[in-house]
């Protein structure tokens, strides 16, 4: 079959479609967004009636997928690594309920934090939940593993995790497809109490999960994704996980070295293979594009076993993503480097687009805040987080999605009033509404700016969950309608906007100010589509 050029993310999406997917549920987040976008634009998905849904957040997405699995169809949910924190409650418990129709969870990690607040390694979540994990080393494996993950999930009636990292998610290569399978018809679970996690049932199901784990280890031992390459030179053995295997092969290609190599791409860890490489070799080099998970395990607390090199002894840097050069140095090969970057080089941080509505919001906000001491603006995650940088330097926090309102409330409780929250429309529906309810219930003196640009801009302009309903949601939560103010962030409106903001600052209670103007990137996209005389599909 002819190969298709696909991003790692797209390979996952295509693998899922060919495996008979019925529904995909996701909240956008780099580097996972393109999986769901692929299904959104796929003709195959449209023609076979695959449901795709941009959920309000990762937890609702995960639960949607669990529901579809309950109803006997194949479901997938995709998120960035920190999204799994939001969905963790549902995820961990889904391992206890188990699946009916296949349930595949994709976690896209971002080592080196290209677009993230941290570089947590989702394999820990998979291990924590006791579910199998697939970690592809290239685009073809991303496709094949996803295809297989659905069958695997149905074989063991368990959720299956697929873990990828940024470089694979956002790199294209040729992928060969397999035959497309039909969707499942749907059926209720055989045991109608499978999904009822009352303690008595949960205990029984947990014991079952623990028992299944032995089978999963056995599967890992014989998996075609976990490979043991014998080598003559046993002075060193190499364990390479997921994408790290590719960097290893890049370095070994054409070289005359013959260390034993263990490639790990399916978890739980293949125990016997690990035992073999550790007993065969004098020392072990461990390559993981993430936290030193296997390394920590093999070292043990006392580090008295086989000699191990990796992130924890400095052979590989303790943080950040791997690359071919880091792996070369780890192998003891010479590093290669071109000319130095000239001294006059300067950074080019991302910035708000020219004409962005957030700019006018910040200009007006900063002007009104001149009357107060600094350090009272709690922000959130989205394009507007770039307001932290010059020339605005307007915000004082960005922690996790939704934290602006709740942190402002906590700070107001501590006496820092008025406290300001700045949150995007999509982030507000993701996890700001509940925080607003807290603020209303406690009559906190917080001023909540919901920056409504009509889209989820930071991740490329996905649908925002409550476009057109922000005011009614705030009123429904209990904000006094007299203190829900909509302004239009434009340079020419600055004076009026400043006046309105000042009025609300003078009010001791919860105010919501909604600066509303469309993201200019989205606006341009629409104009171009209109100009080209077709929809933007």
């Amino acid at each position: 079959m002819e190969k298709q050029l696909l991003l790692g993310d797209e390979a996952i999406a295509q693998g899922a479609l060919d495996a008979g997917l019925s529904g995909i549920y996701a909240y956008p987040g780099t580097p996972s967004t393109e999986i769901t976008e692929y299904v959104e634009h796929s003709r195959q998905a449209r023609e076979t009636g695959v449901k795709y849904s941009w959920a309000a957040n990762e937890k609702t997405a995960m639960e949607g997928a669990i529901g579809m699995s309950y109803a006997g169809k194949r479901a997938m949910t995709c998120m960035k690594h920190v999204g799994l924190n939001v969905a963790a409650d549902a995820f961990i418990n889904a391992a206890i309920t188990g699946a009916n129709g296949a349930l595949v969870v994709v976690a896209a990690d971002d080592p080196s934090m290209h677009s993230s607040q941290n570089e947590q390694d989702s394999r820990f979540y998979g291990k924590f939940a006791l579910v199998p994990i697939f970690e592809p080393s290239n685009q073809q494996e991303a496709y094949d593993m996803t295809y297989d993950a659905f069958a695997f999930s149905e074989k063991y009636k368990l959720p299956v995790m697929i873990r990828i990292t940024t470089r694979l998610a956002h790199s294209r290569a040729g992928v060969a497809r397999r035959p497309a399978l039909p969707q499942r018809k749907g059926n209720l679970p055989e045991d109608m109490r499978q999904f009822v996690l009352l303690p008595a049932i949960a205990r029984r199901r947990y014991k079952q999960l623990l028992k299944t784990h032995y089978d999963l280890v056995a599967e890992s031992e014989k998996s075609s994704y976990n490979l043991y390459f014998e080598g003559k030179d046993k002075s060193k053995g190499i364990i390479a996980c997921g994408l790290a295997y590719n960097y290893l092969m890049e370095n070994l290609a054409g070289k005359d070295v013959s260390y034993p190599i263990l490639k790990i791409s399916q978890y739980p860890i293949p125990r016997k293979m690990i035992e073999k490489i550790c007993s065969d070799c004098k020392e072990i080099l461990i390559l993981e594009d993430g936290y030193p998970m296997i390394e920590e395990l093999l070292r043990g607390y006392l580090n008295t076993g086989v000699t191990i090199h990796g992130r924890m002894d400095g052979t590989i840097p303790r943080d950040g993503e791997l690359n071919p050069n880091i792996v070369a140095v780890g192998l003891g090969f010479p590093d290669t480097r071109g000319p130095e970057v000239p001294d006059f080089m300067v950074g080019r941080p991302p910035s708000l687009c020219a004409g962005c509505p957030h700019i006018d919001t910040y200009v007006a906000l900063l002007e009104t805040l001149e009357q107060y001491s600094k350090g009272r603006v709690f922000s959130d995650i989205g394009c507007y987080t770039l307001g932290a940088l010059a020339p605005f330097e307007a915000i004082n926090s960005c922690v996790d999605m939704g934290a602006s309102i709740t942190m402002a409330k906590g700070a107001a409780d501590a006496g820092l009033t008025p406290a300001i929250a700045v949150i995007g429309d999509s982030t507000f529906t993701h996890s700001g509404i509940t925080g607003l309810l807290d603020a209303v219930n406690d009559k906190a003196n917080v001023k909540v700016f919901i920056l409504d640009n009509g889209t989820t801009a930071m991740t490329g302009g996905q649908k925002s969950a409550a476009t057109g309903r922000i005011e009614s949601i705030c009123a429904g939560v209990g904000v006094d309608p007299a203190h829900i103010r909509v302004i239009k962030p434009l340079r020419k409106n600055r004076e009026e906007n400043v006046r309105i903001i000042n009025e609300e600052l003078a009010y001791d209670g919860v105010s919501v100010i909604i600066p509303r103007r469309e993201c200019v990137v989205e606006l341009n996209k629409k104009m171009r589509a209109k100009f080209a005389g077709k929809s933007n599909e």
């Binding site: 677009s115 080089m345 080019r348």
Partner: protein
């Protein structure tokens, strides 16, 4: 055959269009290809690069190792220098000389150009100006691709075919404009 190419620019400048044309031609020639892109935060006016790898053998890493790239193709002069450590011996640097100034501390353009000209293998051209002169300012990227074309080990006709195929939906006018831009870059002499 192996060509490791760094494409460089500023988020929003559309470096991926260059990668798409080269990639199309490479696939047409039956080569292996890997192309990594930048999505996410840096796309908002930050520095962006794409690693494009072509080979007649299997390609493992999605990232080009430092010190092993064969060509840097940049649509912005300062950005072309950001990736110097990627360059291998005898590698080429092809860049536009039009600065994209969205930062307050952009270094003096003469300093940047002097550095570019001090490199043994470079082509520095006013791609924007040339594209404007051709009446199609949006095809500056194709001018740069044209200037890079002698170093790609891809027959020139293959690039032309790729442009025809990729822009097919946009009509003959756009195709012709892009082909002309490609040729102008190819003919460029410093």
């Amino acid at each position: 055959m192996k060509k490791d190419i760094i494409l460089a620019g500023v988020g929003g400048q559309g470096i991926i269009s260059i990668a798409t044309v080269i990639g199309y031609a490479a696939i047409d020639m039956g080569l292996h290809l890997k192309q990594s892109e930048v999505h996410g935060m840096s796309q908002r006016g930050g520095d962006v690069q794409s690693n494009l790898r072509l080979s007649d053998k299997v390609i493992h890493s999605d990232l080009i190792p430092f010190g092993q790239a064969d060509i840097i193709i940049s649509v912005e002069p300062l950005e072309s220098l950001r990736y110097l450590p990627m360059l291998g011996p005898n590698a080429w640097l092809i860049t536009s000389i039009t600065p994209f100034k969205n930062i307050p501390n952009y270094p003096p353009i003469e300093t940047i150009l002097d550095k570019i000209r001090s490199l043994p293998n470079h082509v520095a051209l006013d791609a924007e100006g040339m594209a404007k002169d051709l009446g199609s300012p949006k095809s500056a990227n194709m001018v740069i691709l044209g200037a890079a074309s002698p170093f790609l080990e891809i027959p020139y006709e293959k690039l032309q075919q790729a442009i025809r195929a990729i822009f097919a939906k946009k009509g003959t006018e756009i195709i012709e404009a892009n082909l002309k831009a490609l040729q102008a870059g190819r003919d460029f002499k410093e």
